[in-house]
């Protein structure tokens, strides 16, 4: 039975939700605002919020100094490629764990997740040496594979959770109708799990897009994505906050827009199976 919610409570909830939302969004808003300030205004004390001479100069400087499109293209390839590769590997893996579990399935799932608990820097040198041997340093192929591997446990876990919500009887019915394993996964299971797969894809694109440890350590000039683009504007000697903010805004803009347009899908996917 639905609870009666008073108008007063609704107002309080709305204000609270907006307050928390703005608080979370504030660092991004501040970065965007700083990108339109001069370097001197960016470090002004007390800080200037809205009333300053707005300038596009930082964006001009960043455009002149860096090949933004090359960094952007690398980010798109690496984030998109690693997510798609991950999905291709994870769908069959999650299917087997969800529908034909063995006695060790739970252990395997936990073991996979445990790899995320290892600090990345702990395996930096082994991976770096493997990359040297295989000629993969500063290549999009190498980075795509590494990002796929580090995000794979999350992809499998998410898909496994979504698949568990799908009644096994439907797949059984498909098998009764003569569907092969491939057909069962491709034409019965996957379409039913589209909201879950979509949110997994979106979340992993965001994770891969923002990944800054491997992308900075394994790239130089050719495969460097937008994280390297941002890092190039930080400086220990000199004023750089406004230009860094402009570079950050340019780097997060595509993913912010993607998130904005797909937020319904994202929320739907993330709450998929929440109500039993």
């Amino acid at each position: 039975m639905a609870r009666n919610v008073t108008t007063q409570r609704k107002i309080v909830n709305t204000v609270l939700a907006w307050g928390i939302g703005l608080l979370i969004f504030f660092p991004i808003l501040w970065t965007i605002l700083t990108s339109f300030k001069s370097e001197a205004t960016a470090i002004a004390d007390p800080p200037v919020f809205l009333f300053f001479d707005w300038t596009l100069d930082n964006y001009r400087v960043v455009q002149e100094r860096s090949d933004y499109m090359r960094f952007l293209w690398n980010s798109v390839i690496i984030a998109g490629g690693s997510t798609l590769l991950g999905i291709i590997v994870a769908v069959p893996a999650a299917w087997s764990m969800a529908f034909v579990p063995s006695a060790r399935t739970k252990d395997i799932l936990l073991w996979m997740l445990s790899t995320k608990m290892l600090p990345a820097v702990g395996v930096l040198y082994p991976i770096y040496l493997i990359f040297i041997k295989m000629g993969l340093l500063d290549s999009r192929v190498g980075l795509t594979v590494v990002l796929m591997l580090i995000n794979l446990p999350i992809i499998i876990w998410m898909l496994y959770t979504y698949f568990r919500e799908i009644p096994g009887e439907i797949l059984e019915a498909a098998r009764m109708d003569g569907a092969s394993l491939k057909e069962e996964i491709l034409y019965v299971l996957t379409p039913m799990a589209v909201p879950g797969i979509a949110s997994t894809v979106l979340l992993n694109i965001i994770l891969a897009w923002n990944e800054a440890f491997w992308t900075l350590n394994l790239t130089a000039a050719k495969a460097a994505p937008l994280t390297a683009f941002i890092a190039s504007y930080s400086s220990p000697e000199g004023l750089f906050y406004a230009k860094l903010s402009a570079a950050s805004t340019m780097a997060i803009a595509p993913i912010l827009i993607l998130g904005w347009f797909s937020q319904k899908q994202l929320v739907r996917g993330l709450t998929f199976g929440a109500v039993k």
């Binding site: 001069s38 370097e39 001197a40 470090i43 002004a44 004390d45 002149e64 100094r65 390839i77 690496i78 998109g80 490629g81 798609l84 590769l85 999905i87 291709i88 930096l124 040198y125 770096y128 040496l129 990359f131 040297i132 340093l137 500063d138 290549s139 999009r140 192929v141 795509t144 491709l186 996957t190 379409p191 589209v194 900075l216 350590n217 130089a220 000039a221 050719k222 460097a224 390297a228 890092a231 190039s232 504007y233 930080s234 400086s235 220990p236 000697e237 000199g238 004023l239 750089f240």
Partner: protein, 439 residues
């Protein structure tokens, strides 16, 4: 259908991923790792001059923040990753990497490059066993930057070569905490290149040293106690609040906003604090040498960002051409022609300081040169030491040890422990680390 589309998209992406940028087989592409600072960024904008003279060489830049760059190039050179053909490295790395034979000797750069024109202090810091392992791109020391108007209002005059007592008296006279004006701003943020750069240089002038000739740590000496006590006393009485988190940029920002009476830091800051676009006190800044304690050594450091070629690079000839171009007198003239004399990379060549056009365009030129000349990386302390380096000790273990010591000193500045406690911990941890390293 959706799945097929996804597979197609994956294939297309995989193909695109596999497509590398294949350079023209006649062109040698140099990948250059560099730091993000004004001089380096300016060089990237002027490389058309180099590529016009060397049409068979293409340049690709990797610009990174200093600490990230240091980690990346160290990782690459130690594992022979070969990602970079030219590296921008500091004065700390050159002696260590040179001794390991990780760098290509630059002794055979062309005669017109004029190695004898390089400032002796810089050349000494970049040479190991007679081999020059890096070409200095820009150099810096540290000096006192002070507010002439505040000194005048206090009825004082800053000597060109002040003592630490002069600095203390000036800091006391200029401090007006109600008006948010603090007599002195110094580095407090922990790190071997942060507070420890300043404190090691200050300690040199107090007669302190990191190690004696037997490599025994010296934090238990009276000279270190006097150094740290005076530093904490200055900062606690006349420094800005929250100084234990202040590094170069934080102090730069405070000084530019008129909140510091004095700031002792890198000579490169002179061009920032005198730039009227960013600084509210641009026309009120005076310069003086870093202070001394009457013991024959000043508390100034020596640093250069230099270009070096990793050993094992298969593009050594092209890399040498680039290094010679970027650190030549002709490059200096090119910057002057395009952006004015005040913007040429300072601190590396004697000829620059003999150039009247430069000295008249840069009011801080003379003090910068004197500061650089006052630093001697091969003989940095009052008592003899077994190491080279002014504000660092050129051994691989130093960065890790000094960062830990810096954390203890920063904690003392934050009021979490006394100077004695910080020094005791510094002595213990340095002794442990050095013993573990086999010294």
């Amino acid at each position: 259908m959706t799945i097929r589309t996804a597979f197609c998209a994956a294939s297309v992406l995989a193909l695109a991923t596999a497509t590398g940028a294949f350079a023209d087989s006649h062109t040698t592409t140099l990948t250059i790792a560099t730091v993000n600072n004004g001089d380096m960024v300016r060089m990237q904008g002027l490389t058309d001059d180099f590529t016009a003279k060397n049409p068979d060489i293409a340049l690709e830049w990797v610009t990174l923040e200093e600490n990230v760059l240091r980690q990346r190039v160290t990782q690459d050179i130690a594992t022979k990753g070969g990602q970079f053909d030219v590296m921008t490295i500091g004065t700390y790395e050159v002696p260590i990497w040179g001794a390991q034979n990780w760098l290509v000797s630059l002794n055979d750069l062309p005669a017109e490059w004029d190695v004898d024109d390089i400032l002796p202090a810089m050349r000494g810091g970049l040479t190991v066993d007679g081999e020059l392992y890096a070409a200095p791109f820009y150099g810096e020391s540290s000096m006192v930057m002070y507010r002439k108007d505040l000194m005048e209002a206090a009825g004082m005059e800053m000597p060109d070569a002040p003592t630490w007592d002069d600095i203390r008296a000036a800091a006391e006279a200029m401090t007006d905490k109600d008006a948010e004006v603090y007599g002195i701003c110094l580095r407090g943020k922990a790190g071997w290149g942060e507070n420890m750069a300043f404190l090691t240089a200050m300690a040199n002038s107090y007669g302190a040293r990191w190690f004696d000739e037997e490599w025994k740590p010296q934090f238990d000496t009276d000279a270190w106690k006097a150094t740290l006590t005076d530093y904490l006393d200055l900062m606690n009485n006349y420094g800005p609040p929250g100084a234990s988190t202040n590094g170069f940029n934080e102090n730069l920002s405070l000084f530019q906003q008129g909140k510091c009476g004095m700031w002792i830091d890198a000579t490169v800051a002179a061009s920032f604090v005198t730039n009227p676009d960013d600084s509210t006190v641009a026309d009120k800044v005076g310069f003086a040498l870093a202070p001394d304690k009457g013991l024959g050594k000043r508390g100034n450091w020596l640093w250069a960002w230099s270009l070096a070629i990793p050993a094992g690079s298969d593009k050594v000839d092209a890399a040498k051409k680039f290094v010679a171009w970027a650190t030549s007198k002709e490059y200096t003239a090119l910057v002057a022609a395009n952006e004015g004399w005040a913007n040429v990379p300072p601190g590396t060549r004697t000829s620059l300081y003999e150039n009247e056009e430069y000295t008249s365009a840069a009011p801080f030129a003379e003090m910068t040169l004197e500061s650089i000349n006052a630093a001697d990386p091969t003989n940095p302390t009052v008592d003899p030491v077994p190491y080279t380096g002014v504000q660092f000790v050129a051994i691989p273990e130093f960065a890790g040890i000094a960062t830990q010591v810096g954390q203890e000193f920063s904690a003392a500045l934050a009021g979490q422990q006394t100077a004695e406690e910080a020094l005791e911990k510094a002595q213990a941890l340095t002794t442990d680390e050095m013993e573990a390293a086999g010294y």
